[in-house]
């Protein structure tokens, strides 16, 4: 009897030790870097590669996708939106999210790092708990991110987060200029996050994108400035967005909520399903 009771007690203790409730709280964050507060992009707004001219960012596009990009530019010159899908409030997805149009917050926990970007209230979750890429995850705009922490200078604290992200859905482009990612969505994004050695208020993200629309991996470097006077606002794009897409064409809503042409000489959309005669 005593033996059975002892087994039961041990079993309960083991079960409790394996339950989430027994995880250490508060977690020990002493090994992790201080990336708290608010991060603003350094460089021009809405431009993926900040080190180049806006019109020539160095994307090594395949001929097929270079043609798609140039057709996009021609449409933009007429007032169109080209291959930029976000004007109707579709999320940026990756790697465009890291343009950080509006400020970013990074929340580091031992098993996850969460990146919140004010624009569209977008979030990405980077798993750092040792898991592998799941085989059955649904594709998403942000993809599935797995990260590992590294102590590159051997001081006993992590100073670099390396991330690989896969399993995307689209459409996505790199920025409002419409540089396209491939429609097969087989993008792989590899990142290195680290703080500048010279300035603890400058965070870098080295981003390498591997994509079927590129002839080779494309690496760029982002920099973000820490703002300690934190002010975030609400960023739900759909609240008053007047930009609409009908039949592949972009239009704009008037102050009265009526459809207006966005391009010079633009025809109204196809109204074949409206039976009412005027």
């Amino acid at each position: 009897m005593l033996y059975r009771s002892l087994i039961g007690t041990v079993a309960i203790a083991w079960a409790l030790s394996m339950s989430p409730a027994s995880a250490q709280w508060p977690p020990d964050l002493s090994k992790y870097p201080d990336w708290h507060a608010q991060w603003y992009r350094v460089g021009p707004i809405g431009q993926y590669n900040p080190a180049t001219a806006r019109d020539n960012q160095g994307a090594p596009l395949t001929p097929e996708y270079q043609k798609i990009f140039e057709d996009n530019l021609a449409d933009v010159r007429q007032g169109g939106q080209g291959t930029d899908p976000t004007y109707t409030c579709l999320p940026d997805g990756m790697p465009r999210l890291m343009n950080v149009i509006f400020p970013m917050e990074i929340i580091i926990m031992p098993k996850t790092t969460t990146i919140l970007v004010e624009y569209l209230m977008q979030q990405r979750r980077i798993y750092t708990d040792g898991r592998t890429m799941p085989a059955d995850a649904e594709p998403s705009f942000m993809g599935y991110s797995i990260g590992t922490w590294h102590d590159t200078d051997g001081d006993g604290r992590y100073d670099e987060l390396r991330v690989e992200t896969k399993n995307f859905r689209g459409p996505r482009s790199y920025d409002p200029t419409g540089i396209p990612l491939h429609a097969d969505n087989k993008t792989i994004v590899r990142e290195r996050f680290f703080v500048s050695k010279d300035n603890p208020d400058h965070l870098h993200d080295e981003i390498t994108t591997i994509d079927s629309a590129l002839t080779r991996p494309w690496t760029i470097l982002k920099t973000y400035r820490r703002e300690r006077n934190v002010i975030f606002t609400e960023g739900y794009c759909a609240v008053d967005n007047p930009h609409v897409k009908i039949g592949g064409e972009n239009y704009m809503l008037s102050a009265e909520g009526l459809l207006m042409p966005a391009k010079r000489g633009q025809r109204p959309p196809d109204l074949r399903y409206f039976q009412t005669k005027r």
């Binding site: 010159r77 080209g82 004010e118 002010i231 609400e234 391009k263």
Partner: protein
């Protein structure tokens, strides 16, 4: 109406001033090379993200009017300069330099540095 309205716009086709409006989406539908100045009365100020909107009633010389949908910057950035949802109120009279829609429809884009009250006061006092 549109031609009359265009004639009423103050100082039309100004020389392009500060840099082009660039945001989370392309502003290509707005003619940034040919900004115009308009004066009108605010019908509504929509302080929403990622862009704020001013619905501005602009009267033509013949007494008719249109309400223009004018797209501005983001609260995320404006808040740092002291803007709030009550910085502009219905009934306020504004003088704005805008980039009009290429189509000629009553819409356009504006930057905070290029608008003020009709009497010349800044929308938000400089800090």
């Amino acid at each position: 109406m549109r031609r009359q309205l265009a004639a009423f716009l103050v100082g039309a086709a100004l020389v392009a001033t500060t840099g082009a409006v660039v945001a989370h989406h392309s502003f290509a539908m707005f003619d940034q090379q040919n900004p115009i100045e308009v004066v009108g009365t605010v019908k509504e100020f929509r302080y929403t993200s990622p862009h704020v909107y001013i619905y501005l009633e602009i009267k033509a010389q013949d007494g008719t009017s249109d309400i223009w949908n004018l797209e501005g910057g983001s609260p995320s950035l404006l808040v740092r300069d002291g803007w709030t949802s009550s910085s502009i109120k219905p009934g306020d009279e504004l003088r704005m330099t805008i980039d009009p829609l290429r189509s000629g429809a009553p819409g356009g884009a504006w930057q905070a540095t290029r608008i003020k009250f009709k009497d010349g006061r800044p929308i938000v006092a400089p800090k």
